[in-house]
C-alpha cells in the first residue's frame, strides 16, 4: 500500500476494485465500513460479484470479468471530459498525461458499456464521486492482478489516482491489499528472481559487488526464473533440483496436471513445511518446520509495517524454525551461516537493506515500523511519494483494453472466476484443521447465479461437473445472487475440488501472474 490502513477510515471516498475486502481482509473491510457508516465516506465498489461491500456502497459498478482496464479508462475519460481532474497536480508532479489522455479518449461511457456492461450513467456517477472527493483511496487485490493483463490493470489504477492528485497525500493512494501475512516481506527480502533485498537489481554490477562483499562469495548476474517458469523448466528437465519452503504449488498453481508432471520430473524435490501437504507427498526429502507460534521473527504487513512474532509454545517433535534449517543446510554445504537467533539475522538485514536499516528488534518491541525506515532515528513512513514520486515525476501509462486470454465460447460457455472465502485461507492446510471454521464452511461450494442454475436444472446443494480445456472436477453448487449470469465462482481451498485443475496458466507478460480470474468452462449437473 502506498498509504496506511488507519487513513482509510478518515478519507472522503474509497474506490474498491477487485477486492472482496470483507472476506479476504476482514479487518480492513471493517475500516471501510466504519468510514462509510460513521465518517460519511463515499464508497464505490467495482466487482463482477455482489460482494459484502456492495451493501455499503454509494454505487456499485458490475463489469464483466476481465474488463477492468475498460472501466478504469472509462472513469478517466469522464473525469477528463468533465474537467474534474487535478490540473495543477498533473502539470507539476506527473508526465505522460497527453499520451494517456489520447489512449482513454475512445473509452466513452457508451463504448465502455459495450465492453463491460456498465450503464453509462453509473460510470459517470462513479467518476464524479472519485474525482470530486477531496482525497480518495483506491483499494485493490487479486481481482486486479490475477489477469493476463494484470500489470495493465495496476497501471490503470495508478493513472486514475494520479489524475485526481491522490498519490502522495494522506488518505489517498493506490493500495493493494496483500493476501498473505508476509508476502510483502518476502518481496522486500529479495525472494524474487531479479532482485536482492530492498529491490536492488541482481543484474546491477555495483549492487552485486556490495552483496558479494557482504556475503563473501561471488554471485550470479543473470536474473533467475519466476515460479511459473521454474515449473515449465522442470517439466522440460532444465530444472533438476527444487527446494520449496512453506508453499503448496500442488494446490495453489494453475493447471495442476502440468505442475504434478513437472514436480515428478525432478531429480530431487525438497519440501520444508509444517504439514505433509499435497506437494510434500511428491517430495524426496521432507523437512519439518516450526510454525509461527513456535519461533521468533518479523512479518511485514500490507502497509509495509514490520511487526514481531514471538515464540509462545514449543515446536512438535524435532521440528525446527525455517531459518535454523536453512542455516544448518548452508553450513553443511560448506557456506557457514551461524546465527543464534532471528534477531541476529535482522541485524544483518539492517546492514544490506536500506529500507529496513532503521528497523531493529529493539524499536519494534511494542509497535511495528513502516518502511522506508533508513536509520534508527527515522519514525517510519506512513505514506509514500509525498512531494515527489520515487522516480521523480509520476508516469502516466497509455493503456488499451485487452480481453482475457480465454473467453467463453459455444463449447465452454461460462466464465470461471476464483478466489477465497472468509473462513479459509489459501490452500487451507491450516484452516481446514480448525474445528470452528469448518463448522462455518465445511466443503467447497461453487457459486452459480439463479438464472443460470434454472437453465441448467441445478438446485442448491446439487453436485455439478465443471470442465475446462485443462481438466474437470465435481463440486457442490450453491445458488446465489453473488456471481453475475454467465459466471461461476469457485474457491481454491479444497484439494478434493481443486479449482486449479481448471484454471488457465496464461501469464501476464510483465508480472508473470496467472489468469486466475477468468477462464472458460462448461457446467453440467453431475
Amino acid at each position: 500500500m502506498t498509504n496506511s490502513i488507519e487513513e482509510l477510515e478518515f478519507t472522503n471516498a474509497i474506490l474498491a476494485i477487485g477486492t472482496n475486502t470483507t472476506e479476504n481482509h476482514p479487518v480492513i473491510g471493517s475500516c471501510v465500513k466504519r468510514a462509510v457508516r460513521q465518517h460519511g465516506a463515499k464508497l464505490i465498489v467495482i466487482d463482477p460479484r455482489k460482494i459484502g461491500l456492495v451493501d455499503y456502497a454509494d454505487i456499485w459498478l458490475r463489469p464483466r470479468p476481465g474488463t477492468n482496464v475498460a472501466v478504469l479508462n472509462g472513469l478517466m475519460n469522464v473525469i477528463i471530459d468533465e474537467g474534474l481532474y487535478a490540473k495543477k497536480y498533473v502539470a507539476n508532479r506527473t508526465e505522460g498525461f497527453e499520451a494517456m489522455k489520447e489512449a482513454v479518449a475512445k473509452y466513452t461511457p457508451d463504448h465502455v458499456k459495450e465492453i463491460t456492461g456498465i450503464p453509462a450513467d453509473d460510470l459517470r456517477t462513479a467518476a464524479r464521486i472519485y474525482a470530486e472527493a477531496n482525497r480518495a483511496s483506491i483499494l485493490y487485490a487479486m481481482g486486479i492482478t490475477q489477469h493476463s493483463h494484470g500489470t495493465d490493470n495496476v497501471k490503470s489504477c495508478a493513472n486514475l489516482a494520479m489524475l485526481c492528485g491522490n498519490v502522495g497525500i494522506e488518505g489517498g493512494g493506490v493500495n493493494p491489499l496483500r493476501g498473505q501475512n508476509n508476502v510483502q516481506g518476502a518481496c522486500d527480502m529479495g525472494a524474487l528472481p531479479n532482485v536482492f533485498p530492498a529491490y536492488q537489481e541482481v543484474a546491477n554490477d555495483e549492487t552485486r559487488a556490495r552483496f558479494e562483499k557482504a556475503w563473501d562469495v561471488s554471485l550470479p548476474a543473470k536474473p533467475g526464473l519466476t515460479i511459473m517458469e521454474i515449473m515449465d523448466a522442470a517439466h522440460k528437465g532444465d530444472i533438476k533440483g527444487l527446494y520449496i519452503m512453506g508453499e503448496n504449488p500442488m494446490i495453489s498453481d494453475p493447471d495442476l496436471t502440468h505442475v504434478e508432471a513437472s514436480l515428478k520430473n525432478l531429480d530431487i524435490l525438497v519440501v520444508q513445511d509444517i504439514f505433509l501437504n499435497e506437494t510434500g507427498q511428491l517430495a524426496d526429502v521432507v523437512l519439518p518446520s516450526a510454525c509461527f507460534a513456535e519461533k521468533d521473527g518479523t512479518f511485514s504487513n500490507t502497509e509495509r509495517r514490520v511487526q514481531r512474532i514471538r515464540k509462545a509454545v514449543e515446536a512438535p517433535g524435532e521440528a525446527k524454525a525455517d531459518w535454523q534449517i536453512i542455516a544448518e543446510l548452508a553450513t553443511k554445504m560448506n557456506y557457514a551461516m551461524e546465527y543464534s537467533s532471528a534477531k541476529e539475522i535482522m541485524d544483518e538485514i539492517n546492514t544490506v537493506t536500506p529500507s529496513y536499516a532503521g528497523i531493529t528488534y529493539k524499536r519494534i518491541e511494542e509497535n511495528g515500523l513502516q518502511w522506508p525506515c533508513p536509520n534508527t532515528e527515522h519514525p517510519g513512513t506512513k505514506y509514500l511519494h509525498k512531494d515527489k514520486f520515487s522516480r521523480g515525476l509520476g508516469l502516466f501509462s497509455a493503456i488499451d483494453y485487452r480481453p482475457s486470454e480465454e473467453l467463453p465460447d459455444e463449447q465452454y460457455p461460462f466464465i470461471l472466476t476464483t478466489g477465497r472465502v472468509l473462513y479459509h485461507f489459501h490452500t487451507a492446510t491450516m484452516t481446514r484443521r480448525s474445528e470452528g471454521l469448518n463448522e462455518r464452511y465445511p466443503e467447497s461450494l461453487a457459486e452459480i447465479n439463479p438464472t443460470d442454475a434454472e437453465k441448467l436444472g441445478i438446485k442448491e446443494g446439487d453436485f455439478i461437473t465443471v470442465t475446462s480445456r485443462r481438466g474437470s472436477l465435481k463440486v457442490k453448487a450453491t445458488v446465489v445472487e453473488t456471481p453475475p449470469e454467465g459466471t461461476i465462482f469457485m474457491n481454491f481451498h479444497f484439494g478434493e475440488a481443486a479449482v486449479n485443475l481448471l484454471t488457465n496458466p496464461a501469464l501476464d507478460p510483465v508480472g508473470k501472474i496467472p489468469e486466475y480470474k477468468v477462464c472458460a468452462v462448461k457446467i453440467e449437473a453431475a
Binding site: N181, M245, F292, N367, L437
Partner: protein
C-alpha cells in the same frame, strides 16, 4: 477546542478540554470510577449506572461516562450516596442472573465480580432470579450463557460500531430483554462472522471462547503478543498459552495499529493447526518409493550431496527454490541468500503471484 476549563474531582483541581466526559477526565487524572457498560471507542450509553458520581448543585447523581465536564464543576466520586447507588445497581445485576463463579470461565477476570468485591457486598438484598435460558452450545467457538448477561450492550456496540458486522442487537423489553442476532437465532444460524469481538467486549461470563473452556484460568494464562499468520493485514493479537498449548486468541485495543483490537474468524479461531497431531515431527526421506523418518543429519547430507552433484553436472541454474510468503522476513532473507550465495543461482521466487 483549544480553551481548557478547570474543575474539581474529589477535591483535586484539574484541567480538561471541553467535550470530555467526567469519566475521561477522572481516568486521565488517576481517579478510579468503576464502569460496566462503558466501552472506549463506542457510543456512551450510560445504561448501567455503575459510574454514577455526585455533581455539586445537580439534582440527581449523574452517569460520569456521559456527562461532559463544565467550567467550575465540582465532582465527588465516592460519597456515601454514590456508593449506595452503585451497590444497588450491582446487587440488582447480581440477583437478576446466574452469577455463579465456580465453573465460570471469567472467574478472576470478571468486571461484575470485581465490583462485588470492590463494593464489599456479602450478598444481594434481593432474591436471585435467574432467567433460566438454555446455554447456547451449537457451535464450537463462542459459548453464550444469557443467564450471566448483564445487558450492558458492549457486545452490540462492538459488533455494530467497531467491527460493523451489524449482527447483534437487543430484542424483547424489560425483564425479558436479551441480546442476540436477528430472530433470536443461535450464532451459528445467524449472519455472525465469528470475529469474536463480542467475547473480548463482554465484561462477564455471558460470552466465552468455548474451546478454551476448562483449559486454564485467567491467572494461569500466559499471553504472548504476536502477529496473525493469515492475511496481509498483520493483526496484533495475544496467543493465550496454558500448559504449553495455545488455548485461545485474544487481542487488546491498546496495541493500536494496524487492527485497533479487531480480528477476524481466521485469526480468532484458526489456531487449532498448531497442536494438530498431523504436524510433521521428523525429517522424511523417500526410500523405495516411500517417505520414511530420518535424522536431521541424514536429511541434510542427502540434500547437500544431491544439490552438489546437480550443480557440478548441470550448473547452478538447474536448481531452483521457492521461498514463502508465510515465513518470516529473516527466513526469506536467508532463503534467497542460500539460493544465491550457496547454490549460486537467482532462481528464487515465492507465491506473491498466486
Amino acid at each position: 477546542m483549544g480553551q481548557k476549563l478547570s474543575l474539581t474531582i474529589d477535591s483535586k483541581k484539574m484541567e480538561a478540554s471541553p467535550g470530555q466526559t467526567i469519566l475521561e477526565v477522572a481516568r486521565e487524572n488517576g481517579i478510579h470510577i468503576p464502569t460496566l457498560c462503558y466501552y472506549k471507542g463506542t457510543t456512551n450509553v450510560g445504561a448501567c449506572r455503575v459510574c454514577v458520581v455526585e455533581v455539586e448543585n445537580a439534582r440527581s447523581l449523574v452517569a460520569s461516562c456521559c456527562m461532559p465536564v463544565s467550567q467550575g464543576m465540582v465532582v465527588m466520586t465516592d460519597t456515601e450516596r454514590v456508593i449506595n447507588a452503585r451497590k444497588l445497581v450491582v446487587e440488582l445485576l447480581w440477583s437478576s442472573g446466574d452469577h455463579n463463579c465456580l465453573q465460570c470461565e471469567k472467574n478472576g477476570n470478571c468486571e461484575l465480580q470485581d465490583l462485588v468485591y470492590e463494593l464489599g457486598i456479602e450478598k444481594p438484598r434481593f432474591d436471585i432470579d435467574s432467567p433460566g435460558y438454555e446455554i447456547e452450545d451449537t457451535n464450537s467457538m463462542i459459548q453464550r450463557d444469557l443467564n450471566k448477561c448483564i445487558l450492558c450492550g458492549r457486545c452490540i456496540r462492538v459488533c455494530n460500531e467497531i467491527q460493523v458486522h451489524e449482527v447483534l442487537d437487543f430484542s424483547m423489553r424489560g425483564s425479558k430483554a436479551r441480546v442476540g442476532p436477528a430472530f433470536d437465532a443461535d450464532y451459528i444460524d445467524s449472519e455472525c462472522v465469528f470475529c469474536g469481538a463480542c467475547v473480548d467486549a463482554c465484561p462477564v461470563g455471558a460470552l466465552t471462547f468455548k474451546q478454551a473452556r476448562f483449559k486454564g484460568r485467567p491467572w494461569e494464562m500466559k499471553k504472548v503478543h504476536t502477529t496473525c499468520p493469515y492475511c496481509g493485514v498483520g493483526c496484533q493479537m495475544d496467543l493465550n498459552v496454558s500448559n504449553g498449548k495455545v488455548v485461545k486468541v485474544t487481542t487488546s485495543r491498546d496495541y493500536g495499529k494496524p487492527n485497533q483490537g479487531m480480528l477476524c474468524s481466521k485469526g480468532r479461531f484458526g489456531m487449532d493447526f498448531i497442536d494438530n497431531p498431523d504436524r510433521l515431527k521428523m525429517p522424511l526421506i523417500r526410500r523405495n518409493g516411500e517417505l520414511k523418518e530420518a535424522s536431521w543429519e541424514e536429511a541434510y547430507s542427502y540434500i547437500a550431496e544431491k544439490f552438489a552433484s546437480i550443480k557440478e553436472k548441470n550448473g547452478p541454474d538447474s536448481i531452483a527454490g521457492l521461498s514463502s510468503a508465510r515465513c518470516t522476513n529473516e527466513e526469506n532473507y536467508l532463503f534467497q541468500k542460500f539460493m544465491r550465495a550457496v547454490i549460486g543461482t537467482n532462481n528464487v521466487d515465492h507465491c506473491a503471484r498466486l
